[in-house]
C-alpha cells in the first residue's frame, strides 16, 4: 500500500491549475472593465468638452444672427395693413421708404413719429435717419413741424419713395399706387387688452402681470373662465365683445380663430362703443380688446401682453453703419475701424520689439543666468491677468506719462501684454532655423547681422508670423486691459490720443449699460468670426511651415 494517494495529488494539481486559470480570467475581466471605464471616461470628457464648446459657440452665433426676445407691451402682436386711424375717414395705410428698416410699428410710436417728437428713426429701428412724415392736407389732428402736407395720395407716394426716412399715410383705397415703388407698406399694431381695474388688484400677494396669446385665445373661446388660471386673482373672466362689424370685432374673431357663434358663452355683447367701454369699466373681471388710442379717454386699464419676437439680427448693414447714441443706433463700422487701427498699431509696436528681443535672446545673449531669468520673466508675464496690464497701463501710460486715455495708451498696454507671446514664438521659430543656414551664410563671408537679417529671419518668418497672428487674436479679444486705458468713444479715432472703442469694449458696454442684447450678440458674433479667421490663418501658416 503506498503512502501517497496518487489520485488525490492529481486532483489537487488539477484544482491548482483551475484556480490559476480562474485568477487569470478574473484578471483579464478586470483589465477589460478597467479599459472600458477608461474609454468611457476619455470619450465622455471629450464629448463633454466638444458639447460645451459647440453649445457656447452655437448659442452666441444663434443669438448673433437671430434676435429672439420675449417682449411685454401694451400692444397685442396682431396688426393690420389697412387700419382705421383717426386722421382719415375710413381705413388708412402706412407707407415708408424702403431704405427704412421697419417691419411693423405700433400706434403709439406712429403717433410720436407724426408728432415729430423723435425726429430720428433711431429709437424706433436703430437707424440713423431723419423722420419725414407726409400727410394729406385734409388730415385731421395736429402734427409736428417736420410734417409735410400734400394734396393727393399719389404725391405722398412719390415723396415717400424718393426720400429715405420718409413715411406717409394714405387712404387704403389708394394702396395700388404703391406698386413698383421704393416703398414698403408697414402694418400697424393698434389693439391692446383692456380690463376692469378689479382684475389688476392684488389678492393674496398675487397680481396679474400679463397675458400671452395662448391665454388670450382661451379667454376668447371661453376655455378660460377664471383669472386664477392665468396667474391672476380668483375672479371670473367676463369677456366683453366690441360692437359687431367694428375693426376690433374683426380682429377679435381673427385672433380667436373661431366663428362668432363659438366665442365664449359668457361673453357680454355690446352694440355701441360707449356701451363697450362702460361695460368693461363696470363689470368686475371684465376683459375686452380695445384700440390703444381709446383707452385713455375712456379710462380703461390696460393689461400687459407678452409675446415672443423673432427676426434676423446681424445683417450686413450692422457692419457698415456708423454707431450713434452709444451704440443704440446704427452699426459698428467705426468700432471695427478702431479695432483695425488698434491691431495695426499693436503689431507695429510689438513685432519689432518682440523679434528684436527674440534675436537677442537666441543669437547674441550669452546663455547664462541672465537669459534664464529673462525667459522666466517673459513666461511669467504671459500668465499675468490682463486687467493687471490694464492697471499698469492706466498708472504708467495714462498717468505718469501723460498720454491720457486713448488709442496710444491702449495699444501700448496691449503691446506689453502680447509681447511675451511674440518673444516666445519668435524665439522658437528662430531656434527652428537649421544651424546650417547661418553656417552657409557665414562661410560666404556674411557678417552675423547680415546672416540673421537676410537668412535666419526670413526662414523663421512663418513661425514668427504665426506667433504675431496668435497675439493679434489675443489683442482683438482683449477687454480688461483696455478698460482703463483706451476709453469708449465709439467714433472713429482721429489721432493717437483719441479715446477709442473697439469691438470687445463695445460688447462690454452694450451689456453693462443694458443697451441691447441683440447688438451685444451681433458684436460678439463679429468678434468670434475675426478670432476664428485669425486662428484659421495661423493654422494655415503653421501647416505651410512644417
Amino acid at each position: 500500500m503506498s503512502i501517497i494517494n496518487l489520485p488525490a495529488i492529481d486532483s489537487s494539481i488539477d484544482r491548482l491549475v483551475e484556480i490559476e486559470r480562474q485568477k487569470s480570467n478574473t484578471n483579464y475581466e478586470k483589465a477589460k472593465r478597467r479599459n472600458l471605464a477608461a474609454n468611457v471616461l476619455l470619450w465622455g470628457s471629450a464629448a463633454l468638452t466638444l458639447g460645451i464648446l459647440l453649445y457656447i459657440l452655437g448659442f452666441i452665433l444663434y443669438r448673433g444672427f437671430r434676435s429672439d426676445n420675449i417682449i411685454e407691451s401694451d400692444f397685442i402682436d396682431s396688426s393690420g395693413i389697412s387700419v382705421p386711424l383717426d386722421w382719415h375717414d375710413g381705413d388708412s395705410v402706412l407707407i415708408v421708404n424702403d431704405k427704412t428698416r421697419l417691419k411693423e410699428i405700433n400706434l403709439r410710436d406712429l403717433e410720436s413719429l407724426l408728432n415729430g417728437k423723435p425726429d430720428n428713426w433711431g429709437n424706433i429701428n436703430s437707424q440713423d435717419l431723419d423722420v419725414l412724415p407726409y400727410m394729406l392736407s385734409s388730415a385731421k389732428g395736429e402734427f409736428g413741424k417736420n410734417t409735410t402736407y400734400r394734396e393727393s395720395p399719389s404725391e405722398i407716394v412719390s415723396s415717400v419713395a424718393s426720400q429715405p426716412g420718409a413715411l406717409g399715410l394714405i387712404p387704403a383705397s389708394f394702396l395700388s399706387l404703391t406698386e413698383n415703388k421704393d416703398i414698403n407698406i408697414i402694418p400697424v399694431k393698434m389693439l391692446s387688452v383692456g380690463v376692469n381695474p378689479s382684475v389688476l388688484e392684488i389678492e393674496n400677494n398675487i397680481k396679474l402681470r400679463y397675458i400671452d396669446r395662448k391665454i388670450l385665445r382661451k379667454i376668447l373661446r371661453g376655455e378660460l373662465t377664471n383669472w386664477q388660471e392665468a396667474a391672476g386673482r380668483d375672479m371670473p373672466v367676463r369677456l366683453v365683445l366690441p360692437p359687431p362689424g367694428s375693426f376690433e370685432w374683426d380682429a377679435l374673431i381673427e385672433i380667436a380663430g373661431v366663428s362668432s357663434e363659438e366665442l365664449a358663452q359668457s361673453a357680454v355683447g355690446t352694440s355701441s362703443f360707449d356701451e363697450f367701454y362702460s361695460k368693461i369699466n363696470s363689470t368686475p373681471g371684465a376683459f375686452g380688446m380695445i384700440r390703444n388710442d381709446r383707452a385713455e379717454e375712456n379710462n380703461i386699464k390696460l393689461l400687459s401682453y407678452r409675446y415672443r419676437q423673432t427676426g434676423a439680427n446681424l445683417q450686413w448693414w450692422f457692419l457698415f453703419e456708423e454707431p450713434k447714441r452709444a451704440g443704440r443706433v446704427g452699426g459698428i463700422s467705426t468700432i471695427v475701424l478702431n479695432t483695425i487701427y488698434m491691431v495695426l498699431l499693436t503689431v507695429l509696436f510689438s513685432t519689432p520689439i518682440g523679434i528684436g528681443a527674440a534675436v537677442y535672446l537666441t543669437e547674441y545673449a550669452k546663455q547664462g543666468t541672465l537669459v534664464k531669468m529673462l525667459r522666466l520673466g517673459t513666461e511669467t508675464l504671459a500668465g499675468i491677468p490682463s486687467i493687471i496690464f490694464g492697471l499698469f497701463g492706466f498708472i504708467v501710460f495714462v498717468g505718469a506719462m501723460h498720454m491720457g486715455i486713448g488709442l496710444l495708451s491702449g495699444t501700448l498696454t496691449l503691446t506689453l501684454m502680447i509681447l511675451p507671446t511674440i518673444i516666445r514664438t519668435s524665439e522658437e521659430a528662430i531656434k527652428g532655423v537649421p544651424r546650417s543656414f547661418s553656417a552657409g551664410s557665414l562661410a560666404l563671408g556674411a557678417g552675423k547681422w547680415q546672416t540673421i537679417y537676410k537668412v535666419v529671419l526670413p526662414a523663421a518668418a512663418p513661425g514668427i508670423l504665426t506667433g504675431v497672428i496668435l497675439a493679434i487674436g489675443r489683442a482683438v479679444g482683449e477687454t480688461a486691459a483696455l478698460l482703463f486705458t483706451m476709453g469708449f468713444d465709439y467714433r472713429a479715432v482721429k489721432n493717437l490720443s483719441t479715446s477709442a472703442r473697439v469691438l470687445s469694449t463695445h460688447l462690454y458696454q452694450l451689456v453693462k449699460e443694458g443697451i441691447s442684447f441683440d447688438r451685444a450678440f451681433a458684436t460678439a458674433t463679429i468678434l468670434i468670426f475675426i478670432v476664428l479667421f485669425v486662428n484659421l490663418v495661423s493654422t494655415r501658416l503653421i501647416k505651410r511651415k512644417y
Binding site: P434, S436, F437, L442, L444, G445, A446, G447, V455, P458
Partner: protein, 250 residues
C-alpha cells in the same frame, strides 16, 4: 610649385580637448586634397580652421600658423575676405529658404554687388560652372528648397563659386546624396580643380581615391600620412593608413 595653403604645427583645442596635434601639411594649388580618417580624427576640425569657421565654436583655441598664399590667416587677415576667398560646402545641402537666383546672388550681394545685370551674369556663370544651369535655368525664381538633394548640393557649390573663391573646402559634400548625385558632384569637383584648389573631407574611401590628387590620413588628431592618392591607396607607408583604407579598422 608654391603651396596654396601651408599649415604649420597646428594645434587645436575644443576647451580642454586637444583635437589636432602639431599638424603640418602643404596644400598644392589646383589639386584636390582629400582628408580621410575615422570619425573624430580631426579632419573636419582641420577643414574648419582653414576658413576660420571654428571661430563660431565657443572655447576653441588655435595654436600654430596657417598661411594662405603666404599670409597668416590667424594674423591680421580680414575674416570676411578670408571666407570670400576660401569658400565652404557643407555636409548636407543647405540652400537658403529663398529662390534659386537669390541663393546664388546672396554672396555677391553681401559683398556689395547691386547691379542687376552683373548679378544676372554671376548667377548664370556660377550655375554653369556647377553644371546645373541647364537643369534649372527656367526656374531661377523658384524655391531652392524645391530642388532634389543632388541639385541642392550643386546649387550650394554654385553659391560658393559666385563669390569667386580661390579655395573650396568641402565637408563630406556627398554623404547625404544618392550614388548618381554623388557621381555628378565628383565629376564637378574634377572639373573645378582646373580653376580652384579643393580640399575635401570624406568618409568614403573610394571617393577619396576617385577624385583626389593627394590624400591626408588623420588619426586621433595626428596627421598620420599624406601623399599622392595613388601612393596612399596602392602602397601606403603607414600600416595604420593601410588598415584604415582597406577597412580593417575605423
Amino acid at each position: 610649385m608654391r603651396s596654396k595653403l601651408s599649415i604649420k604645427e597646428l594645434d587645436f583645442y575644443y576647451g580642454d580637448f586637444k583635437a589636432l596635434h602639431k599638424v603640418s601639411m602643404e596644400i598644392e594649388p589646383n589639386k584636390v586634397t582629400a582628408l580621410i580618417g575615422p570619425s573624430g580624427c580631426g579632419k573636419s576640425t582641420l577643414l574648419k580652421t582653414l576658413n576660420r569657421m571654428n571661430d563660431l565654436v565657443a572655447g576653441s583655441v588655435v595654436d600654430g600658423t596657417v598661411l594662405y598664399d603666404g599670409d597668416d590667416i590667424y594674423g591680421k587677415y580680414d575674416i570676411i575676405q578670408l571666407r570670400k576667398k576660401i569658400g565652404m560646402v557643407f555636409q548636407s545641402p543647405n540652400p537658403f529658404a529663398m529662390s534659386i537666383y537669390d541663393n546664388i546672388a546672396y554672396g555677391p550681394r553681401i559683398h556689395g554687388i547691386k547691379n542687376k545685370k552683373v548679378l544676372d551674369r554671376i548667377v548664370e556663370k556660377s550655375l554653369r560652372q556647377a553644371a546645373i544651369w541647364e537643369e534649372i535655368k527656367n526656374r531661377l525664381k523658384g524655391p531652392a528648397l524645391g530642388l532634389s538633394g543632388g541639385q541642392q548640393q550643386r546649387l550650394c557649390i554654385a553659391r560658393v563659386l559666385a563669390v569667386e573663391p580661390d579655395v573650396i573646402l568641402m565637408d563630406e559634400p556627398t554623404s547625404a546624396l544618392d550614388p548618381v548625385s554623388t557621381s555628378r558632384i565628383e565629376d564637378l569637383i574634377d572639373e573645378l580643380k582646373k580653376e580652384y584648389t579643393i580640399i575635401i573631407v570624406t568618409h568614403n574611401m573610394q571617393q577619396a581615391g576617385r577624385i583626389s590628387d593627394s590624400t591626408a590620413f588623420f588619426l586621433n588628431g595626428y596627421l598620420e600620412e599624406m601623399g599622392a592618392t595613388e601612393k596612399i591607396f596602392f602602397n601606403p607607408d603607414s600600416k595604420k593608413t593601410e588598415d584604415y583604407i582597406s577597412g580593417k579598422f575605423g
